[in-house]
Amino acid sequence: MKSTMGIILTECKNYDLKELSSVRPVASVPFGGKYRAIDFALSSMVNSGIINISVITKYNMRSLMDHLGSGKEWDLDRKNRGLFILPASEHPTESCDDILGPLYGNISFLEKSSEKYVLIIQGFAIYNMDFTPMIIQHIETNADITIACRDMSDFSLDERKLLGTVITGENGIITQYSENTQDTGYSFGPMGIFLLGREFLIDLLKGRISKPAETFNDIIAQNAGNLRIYACNFHGYWRPLSNIQLYYRTNMELLNPGVRQELLMNERKIYTKIKDDPPAKYNGDACVRNSIVAEGCIIEGTVENSILFRGVRVEKGAKIKDSLIMQESVIEKNADLQYCILDKEVTVSQGRTLKGEPQYPLVISKKTRV
């Protein structure tokens, strides 16, 4: 798919992961034991043969840039094309925080590229998707814009309110599009994945198609009749990390073999920054059940229904249940954790008990000593 370039947007205004996203954009939130959220969009693109990928980022760039580096883990450290990290700059007129906003300052980059199509992704969701069928559909339907959509009935009504609605007419052409409210009776929604012609996108940004200050949302809503906007139906696993509940649930769903198989054990691998940790070590007293454990961990305690990220230490007598423990956290002797999310490098002192609720996991921010 050398005809397509990729753009990943890292900001998403409505998404709030509390302490986790206060130090980093949602796209670089740690996920699934060794990944960052953006790895899923980025690896999906790479595995679909897209080799010109830019990541546009505005706030907290350091964490993301440190993670992406030269892009070598994704085979994107290339002479021709490869990975580009572009700063977002807004259009001088206000109200451009939808997907077009960050693109205004990068029109010259789009003009300089030679690919025929642009795949724009909001990097907040977890999935492992082959974009090839979407690109083929886009070409075959001669669409102006193709939006990846799916049946959202695997989300609760509350969760669906954040997901948006897409209503399609004949042949999957979109007649109505709303980004962040969902009609409760209708469960077909957009996934934050858009495919457009590169020239078409430039025209859109330059206001040749509609007024420049309009949001993408408005453009689609107002032009549903005269533009060819299609939905591409995706049937696989997809979860947006829109709030702490969904973040926690999505991580926990990895303990389900079907989900793990589709997301991680797939031929289309998810790549991430390499840390060169040694294999995980279980000492004699370790007791681990139904859990995911990354390399570099040393376990002497009890771990159940949990995910341990890279380099976590669980000391003797410590108990971890239903929790996410991020990189290099230390759970000291006889500490007891349930329904907790520990950000990176947290230390839980000896004998301390931390308990959250299944719907409201306790979030401990980075580098805290509890």
Binding site: Y282, N290, V293, F309
Partner: protein, 426 residues
Amino acid sequence: MAQKEIVALILAGGQGSRLGVLAENVAKPAVPFGGKYRIIDFALSNCINSGIDTVGVLTQYQPFELNKHIGIGRPWDLDRMNGGITILAPYMKTEKGEWYAGTADAVFQNIHYVDEMSPRYVIILSGDHIYKMDYNDMLEYHKEKHADATISVIDVPMEEAGRYGIMNTNRDGSIYEFEEKPENPKSTLASMGIYIFTWDMLREYLINDHLKSDTSHDFGKDIIPAMLKDKKRMFAYKFRGYWRDAGTISSYWESNLNLTEKNSGPDIYDPCWKIYSPDPAYPPHFVSDTGKVEKSVIADGCTIHGTVKNSVIFPGVTVNAGSVIEDSIIMSDTLIGCNTEICCSIIGENCVIGNEVKCGVGEFAENTYNPRIYNSNITVVGSNTIIPNNTVLGKNVVIGSFITPHDFETHYITSGGYVMKGGSNP
């Protein structure tokens, strides 16, 4: 090319013949080790962690896996504009092509490689050993002593000294005598096969050695004795720490299992001295509701539904429900079926072990295939082999690589038996 103070040469042509099927298709330095590494990763990581960024790897025997593993040296940050890693394989010359006739000859044939960097010193390393060592400290010692050659030595128990090259030293650490596998050792300082030479001096000795006819072109047997004879300044540098040759089935098994102990084996968990290796990009491992892991080392990509005790499990291994793995090493991407018991065994990469298999049962018996190589309680299965359901393998059994169920004449291989391509002896 900019001048380098020191260049490392890693001798990686070792056949590892005493590792049997484990090194049948790969050179010994490329034999998997410690749950995610290959043996040569220790020498390569030591180099980069010691600040040595110019490394020549001398290959000869079965270099494919090794070359693939090393690539352009990226995992060790040795993909560099200036210096970096270079694979030095034997090559054709105008008159004739020659294999490396010995360790010294291998370096002799690559004098031009070292000359290009015109280093002050070279360090000769073996790609066969498991240890963590700061070569800088050794270089400082070499400089301090104004030595022509410095040989790294380790204290071994007196009763084992006869198996090593022993350095007899004066009080100041200078070497007055070198004895290869002495019957009555005078000291317990065994050579680790790690040498620092002042390059100009070594260059001269290599050329002289090449011209001689009564030589085996070996560092230990020829170069070191010749230098001693000429009363060159040669010093023993004492290394204190974990060092293993892992050259036999039982020492290989033991040094892997050392990693499952609390404070034995090389400390691979030290963030200041990481051991690097190419990353297979597997997800973190998963232990299911029925899984149980005790005193073991488990790499990414594994799925554990059974019980794993006192074992080393490489990336991408699946252990299905009801199975028990004990005191064993399971290499990458191997699948263990249901209700299978594996004890005291080494299973190669990419194998499929069927359901209800028993591996490593019964009493020891002498191996009928090659008792010189297979002489312990350990049962060894080569790579890419399929063991059919309900098979029973005794102790000290060897199963070759690429064995299919058709190669099994019976489901019961008693202790000391074997199954190889084209023949078996249960």
